[in-house]
């Protein structure tokens, strides 16, 4: 059998990688938003826990996070299936990184916007939800797109806890065919075929948003 015959197997792996990306980005960014709001809070009991979680999430390699959850937690009685463990681990990392991006976005909203909202007599709540949040999120979009691409690439780490995603499938095909160079080159190109156009898209979006702001 030639390598072409194994493309469907790689395709199935890619599909799982994409699902894993979608889940970790969706949950990660939601938690990231909560953490960003926490870190920006004036109440210390909200602020410090959020900052600690964020710094831990950014300071530890994603691979170690996966090992902690998949190999470590069972010893304290918490057992996850590999796919669930991978989703939790990658969500945690995505949440930590995205919270910093969202925080930077919120901070980039000019002070005048607050003052204008106050002058219009808007309540604090609607000032934040209707004025600050939409503008802040808008300016963090390019960074969050970049992080989504990184998250897609990070799903390849789930191979190490035997999630049958693209990298695991490539490893299997390599062991079946012994054509390691070919298999990993094709796998690399598959990852790149998604990541590279996505990068170009995020650059394009960044330019468009910059034009809108000027």
């Amino acid at each position: 059998m030639s390598l072409v015959d194994y493309l469907p197997q790689l395709g199935r792996g890619l599909l799982l990688s994409l699902q894993l990306t979608a889940l970790s980005v969706l949950f990660g960014y939601l938690i990231g938003l909560v953490l960003a709001l926490g870190a920006a809070s004036s109440k210390w009991w909200l602020k410090w826990p959020a900052i600690v979680v964020v710094e831990i999430g950014r300071g530890i390699p994603a691979l170690v996070v996966l090992y902690l959850i998949y190999f470590g937690l069972p010893s304290v009685g918490i057992l996850f299936e590999s796919l669930v463990a991978a989703t939790i681990g990658l969500t945690f990392t995505a949440a930590a990184y995205s919270s910093e991006m969202i925080r930077a976005g919120l901070q980039s909203v000019p002070r005048g916007q607050f003052e204008a909202a106050a002058a219009l007599g808007l309540a604090r709540r609607s000032t934040f939800l209707r004025v600050v949040l939409p503008q802040g999120l808008r300016s963090s979009i390019p960074a969050l797109m970049g992080l989504a691409i990184m998250s897609f690439q990070a799903t390849s780490l789930a191979y190490s806890i035997s999630v049958p995603e693209l990298m695991s499938q490539a490893y299997q095909v390599g062991n079946l065919t012994f054509q390691y160079l070919g298999v990993y080159a094709i796998t690399g190109l598959i990852y790149a075929a998604i990541a590279v156009p996505a990068t170009w898209l995020s650059v394009w979006v960044e330019h468009r948003l910059a034009r809108g702001a000027a």
């Binding site: 170690v64 190999f71 470590g72 490539a170 390599g174 390691y180 070919g182 690399g188 170009w200």
Partner: protein, 213 residues
């Protein structure tokens, strides 16, 4: 817990070696890529752009497997350490070229024009006027990249480099009954501890540069 910590710290020099060596490759390798990105010839610019995006588009683990399992020329094969350093070095070159480019992009055009008005050559303009200033603005990003490289060096464990994560897994496997979550927790703590000084340095550098500009 003491035993686990000793076992993991024995892997620390290898983690630092992989990180430092691949960063050094990136510092040097990023320069020709940067020159390609700034070339006067459009085709060269586009080709180098594509190469950089392609390198960054492939996950590190795929790079390492490609080099370690895929490259066999005659009887030549990379050993796992060399494969990890070369793989992460190639990735670093691409990322650092992009960081260098970002540094140059912030330079005011007047610097270039002033150098020309003074009759400086192209090489002198680049080496003595533009590069030192660009490097200054690029430093915080370079420190941040060094941090992410430190964390990515953990991926070398997947091809059998005996760094910290390998040390943690081996210890966990040898002491299944007692070790539990401890070795992974300790490895995480060491990475975290390592990242603090670099993060503080980057943040301080950033504020200082902001003031200077």
């Amino acid at each position: 817990m003491g035993d686990a910590l000793v076992a993991i710290l024995l892997g620390l020099p290898m983690t630092l070696l992989v990180t430092a060596a691949s960063f050094a490759i990136g510092l040097v390798g990023g320069v020709p890529l940067l020159l390609g990105l700034r070339s006067r010839i459009r085709f060269v610019r586009l080709a180098v752009r594509l190469v950089i995006d392609l390198i960054r588009g492939v996950p590190p683990i795929v790079w390492l497997f490609l080099l370690y399992f895929g490259i066999a020329i005659g009887s030549f094969r990379f050993n796992s350490l060399v494969a990890a350093i070369v793989g992460l070095g190639v990735i670093s070159s691409a990322y650092l070229a992009e960081i260098y480019r970002g540094g140059f992009a912030t330079l005011p055009r007047g610097q270039f024009e002033a150098a020309q008005a003074l009759g400086l050559g192209r090489a002198t303009t680049l080496g003595r006027v533009l590069a030192p200033q660009a490097l200054r603005t690029a430093l915080p990003s370079m420190a941040t990249f060094l941090l992410s490289l430190l964390k990515d060096s953990s991926i070398a464990s997947t091809i059998g480099v005996t760094e910290m994560v390998t040390a943690a897994t081996v210890f966990a496997r040898q002491n299944t009954a007692t070790a539990g979550i401890v070795p992974f927790f300790l490895a995480a703590a060491v990475y975290f501890a390592l990242s603090i000084p670099v993060a503080v340095f980057a943040r301080r550098l950033d504020t200082r540069l902001r003031k200077a500009l």
